[in-house]
Amino acid sequence: MFAEATEVALKSGWFLEHAWVVPVIPALSFFLIIFFGKRMPKKGSEFGVASMLGSLVFAGGAAYQWIQRVNGAPEGAFVSPVVKTWTWWQNSGISFGIGQHVDGLTVAILLVVAFISTLVQIYSLEYLRGDRRYTHFFASLTLFSAGMLNMVVAENMIQLILGWEIMGLCSFLLIGHWWEEGANSRAALKAFFTTRTGDIGLLTGTAILFFSANEWTTKTLGVSGFSIRGLSSWALSGDPGHAAITMGAIALFIAAIGKSGQFPLHTWLPDAMAGPTPVSSLLHSSTMVVAGVFLVARLYPVFFKGMDILGGSANFIVVIGGITIVIAALLAFVQTDIKKVLAYSTVSQLGYMMMGLGAGAWLPAVFHIFTHAFFKACLFLGAGSISHSSSHHSFEMKKDMGGLRKFMPITFGTWIISTLALCGVFPFSGFFSKDEIIDNVGHNGYNVFMYVGLAGAFLTAAYMTRATYLTFFGQPRGASAGEHHEEESHDSHAAHDDHADHGHDAHDSHDAHASQGPHESGWLITVPLIILATLALSSGFLNALPFGEKFENFKKWVEPSAEVVNPTGIAYVVGGVGEARIASETPTDSTVEEGEAHSETPMAPTASGEDTYSSESGHSKSPCGTETPEQGVCAAPQLNHAPFKWSKAGMSMLIVLAGFLLSLFVCIQLYEKKNKKFVGLTERNKVLGFGYKLLVNKYYLDVLYEKIIVRSIAHPISAAVYWFNQKVLDGVINGAGTTAKGIAGWVYRNIDQRVVDGAVNGTGSVAQGAGSALRPVQSGKVNQYGALLFGAAAIGALVLVIVNT
């Protein structure tokens, strides 16, 4: 069947060929900002914004051309990624390349990242105006984007790690942006340290996979065992031993857990809210934290085989994802800090993505990354907008907010849209992604987790309602009501207080806010909000399953088709002959590459930027993922998609609605009506007879809801979870440091200083002691000297006599 492969040229294009430029632009502008930023009129921010716009353009171009490429290809054919490698460095024959691996996933994420970064930077122009470290902020922000983009285009694991770590560094710098306060820098430290802990997995995993795969990939594809392309095909080739790939996958997933704030390593994420709001919005909602998810999606075949996804039984990823969803969602209830609510909701959304990936719902998960980015960014920026303009730089919903909808209509509107999207209400974007995940999870036989997903949806709706209510409805409280904080109270919740963001030089504007009272933010803030909200509303239609095939563009463009392809077909894709030459020009390049580039494909098309692929006609179900391909290799496992059913959709809608109503009701009871109502109620309960029960039932319900359901959810369970979270997990994370220090101290004091060192110093003192012990020998008495002299002689003589007779 492989013989009658038909060669068809694939479209490519300049932007596609040069997608690697996307990360390079911000990287360069980072240095510009560092070195010249301070001297620029806008303190370097213009570099940042400009570079992000630049990358956005390039990313857009790449995306467009990718779509062209896909559309140009026959239906269901495997559209080979546009890959380029240059040897970065070489060590005893193992070459570490750097380059690009551009396919649907890449361009999608590139687009999102570039887009969100741009908006966030624009937003920050206003939000951080006058900040003490304005320039540093933009520098780090830009570098961060560079890192993320680099990770997305990464051609191999090393490059990916590079981007991954740069993000870690930037998150450290950005979370700790206001490092004057210990809490912030501690949060930064914690974030870096936690993710770094996960990175153990990344390093070991990479090592394991590399050494197990390298031989195969070099032989078959002529690429090193670091190459993402190589690893993907290798995973599905049936070559890997079970142990190796499983270990590798698990290790890598641990890294993902750390980065994507999955249970149990999610605790750093809420603390990371210590950073400025734009940071939270960019790093800790829409881009960096999805790096882990991206890693799984990127090397999906590896996890697919390693974790035995679709193997019928629950696997590591899906379990973790599921747990995370619930845990995080429950936690979101007890937060009074709006950003923390959003943070936990992020965690639980990431949980969705993981669960989806774990359950074989690759596409919906990726799509959820896509949509989630928009509305979560929007929510965070919204929260920022509130604190910036209305709540006196506080994020305390209960203390400082409430009834803001009249004051900040735009913020309110965008907020509502995004919330609906987050809750997955039709037809907002969240619906099309999140619902798909739940749907496919169930369809792939992970029923338990489908219910988990639904429960998550319910909780999401509930806590978002609560947050919304507390923020926008009811009466203005605290700062929003124009109260001035005493400086002490001001600092008392300093950890989440942005007062520092204007620096001490800007206190006047600071007070100006308060005097004006709540008001809408400036256009630099609202415009991004509006744009994001629009996308939160619309982006779902990229892959609107309900409206049939022609709306499933995202699927078409992004999902690689699982198909056995000619290894040379893939391996040849060094970005056309032209690039192949570039590749071969680099002196230390692996010869294999040229080998397969020229010898193995005699009919290599001459036109640069055209690739060959082979498709088999009339081929229904690909063997990829299930059994090993006879000839050729697979690039992606065969996945199946749940057909859309309104019934299921409706059901989930209902659940969301229930969550919404319930929560709303409870909120009103709690925060609007306050206690007097049911104080009276209880009296009446005591006084009145049995007949009013039905009337009273309402209040019974009231009581029931308030006292039992809400309490039982809010307090015992989630409190318990929260306690577990704060005490145990957090304890572990923080404790790790302290205990390590403790151990260290002990080792240092006892082993190092006493034993090891003591041994050394000991010998010295022993020698000294011996010295004084021997002094009596030197008594100074001639006779004794003589005695000694002759005694020694006599003994010696005696011995000799005895020996020699």
Binding site: I158, A207, V747
Partner: protein, 513 residues
């Protein structure tokens, strides 16, 4: 080995030029401090120029082979000769030693530690330079030994005379430790000499003959060398001299110690112990690797326990050299390359860290982590440089540290044939955990020192102000090259690997690559 280049005078000149400078300085009266300093720096720069000339003339296409080889009779009666040469392994370290010396001297221009006396101070540094450079080019065991020992006295005095409160103890300890090591090393060399037929001390010759020695004998001889080199590295449990020496030494001493002297040990392993005694190396590798990872974890824990910045950095050296030794112990060219790279990277980074520590000490008159904070507010540049070095040191990709650390970990996954894979994979995981610790203590240091508000005692108007100024001219001159090098090697490691790789390949012939 045939003479490849006819510039074989270059190495000799590059090695002994500092001594000429010393001779000149001897005749300059003590009072002429400026003159003394400039003569010394001029000498160092001239030396560096010769070194760069060597590099330019170096045939990179043939980096595996000995170049600039020069051989003359020296002590014919014990069959030891003045036999020098340079290859891909020696070259980076050879140059590193020269660069560091120049930078340290420039730094010393206005940083001569008490009790002053720049004349002696600079003279000692020049002598050190000769010793270090000589060790890296010696091709004859006895010559190697002489140079190896030559660095002892100058460093002893540097620590003992210009050091901190507890300097005398520290210097003596440093000296006795190293001397003990080299005594055993010497015995090992001699045993090697006689077991190979008492014909020559030349390393190439011994490499040819070494494998004929019976395995058990090899193991014993290796043991001797092991102690000698391990003390210098320093490997757990021979490391206890290091923290004291570093803490007490003057900044310049610490920098040279960290940047170059520690490398003498690892270099000894790579250049002598392993290629000459392959069998023994195989037998020892697991234990070396084990000690290496212990060193990694142990050093990190040590760091976490420290309250003194300089001491913390010193312990971090133990951890980093652990990575280097792990790479070496895999006996694969991959790991060896990583180790060599790690040596240079550690030289640059930790050297830089010690520079910073020195400047901090000079400004705050203390290195107690508890007392210092908010450095970024008072001295943003210095603070960020510290941050940069911390990041580099914890192995952030894109900076030099990563390319020594990560490949070393990687290499442990697949040690040379004949070594227990499982053992080394365990090492790999432990080492990976070590990287987390590294992040832990370095960021912890950075956070506590650089972040936060300045401590009251150092805040403006509390006496110390006049000392608390940001990076000054000489510091910039001395540091910029290092900082740039850290970035350059991080971004384009190929620069070094392409030099190391062939040489390492040659070194590991006995192991089939």
């Amino acid at each position: 080995m045939e003479v490849i280049s006819n510039h074989n005078w270059a190495l000799t000149v590059g090695t002994f030029l500092p001594l000429v400078g010393v001779l000149i300085m001897l005749f300059i009266p003590k009072a002429e401090e400026a003159l003394i300093k400039s003569v010394a720096i001029a000498t160092a720069i001239a030396t560096l120029a010769v070194g760069i000339y060597t590099m330019v003339q170096f045939d990179f296409g043939n980096a595996g082979a000995m170049q600039f080889v020069a051989q003359h009779d020296w002590i014919s009666v014990i069959k030891s000769s003045y036999y020098i040469g340079i290859d891909g392994i020696s070259l980076p370290l050879y140059l590193l030693s020269m660069v560091i010396t120049v930078l340290v001297m420039i730094y010393s221009w206005d940083h001569v530690p008490s009790p002053g006396n720049p004349k002696a101070f600079f003279i000692l540094m020049l002598i050190l330079q000769t010793g270090m450079a000589g060790t890296f080019i010696a091709r004859d065991l006895i010559l190697f030994f002489v140079f190896f020992e030559l660095v002892l006295l100058p460093m002893y005095f540097m620590i003992g005379v210009w050091g901190g409160e507890n300097r005398q103890y520290a210097s003596l300890k440093f000296f006795l430790y190293t001397m003990f090591g080299s005594a055993l090393m010497l015995v090992a060399f001699l045993a090697l000499f006689f077991k190979t037929g008492a014909e020559s001390f030349s390393i190439p010759f011994l490499i040819e003959q070494g494998m004929n020695i019976s395995r058990t004998t090899q193991i014993w001889i290796f043991a001797g060398m092991f102690v000698g080199f391990a003390v210098k590295v320093p490997m757990f449990p021979f490391h206890t001299w290091l923290p004291d020496a570093h803490t007490q030494a003057p900044t310049q001493g610490s920098v040279i110690l960290a940047a170059v002297l520690l490398k003498l040990g690892t270099y000894g392993f790579v250049r002598i112990a392993i290629p000459v005694l392959p069998e023994a190396a195989k037998a020892w590798a697991p234990y070396i690797g084990g000690l290496a990872v212990i060193g990694i974890i142990y050093g990190s824990l040590g760091c976490l326990a420290q309250t003194d910045m300089k001491r913390l950095i010193a312990f971090s050296s133990v951890a980093h050299m652990g990575f280097v030794m792990l790479g070496i112990s895999t006996l694969t060219s991959f790991g060896m390359n990583a180790a060599m790279f790690g040596m240079v990277a550690h030289g640059l980074i930790t050297g830089m860290l010690f520079f910073v520590a020195g400047s901090v000490k000079e400004r705050y008159h203390t290195l107690e982590i508890k007392r210092i904070s908010g450095m970024l507010l008072q001295m943003p540049k210095l603070g960020w440089i510290l941050g940069f070095c911390a990041m580099a040191s914890l192995g952030l990709p894109g900076l030099a540290g990563f390319w020594g650390e990560f490949p070393a970990i990687l290499s442990a996954y697949q040690p040379a044939p004949g070594l227990s894979v499982n053992v080394f994979r365990t090492y790999m995981v432990i080492a990976a955990i070590g990287t987390v610790f590294a992040a832990g203590y370095l960021l912890w240091l950075f956070q506590r020192i650089a972040f936060g508000e300045p401590a009251a005692e150092f805040a403006a108007g509390h006496g110390h102000d006049e000392d608390i100024h940001d990076v000054n001219k000489f510091e910039w001159i001395a540091w910029t090259p290092l900082l740039i090098a850290i970035v350059v090697f991080g971004v384009y490691p190929q620069l070094m690997f392409k030099v190391l790789d062939p040489a390492v390949g040659v070194t590991l012939k006995a192991f089939g690559g």
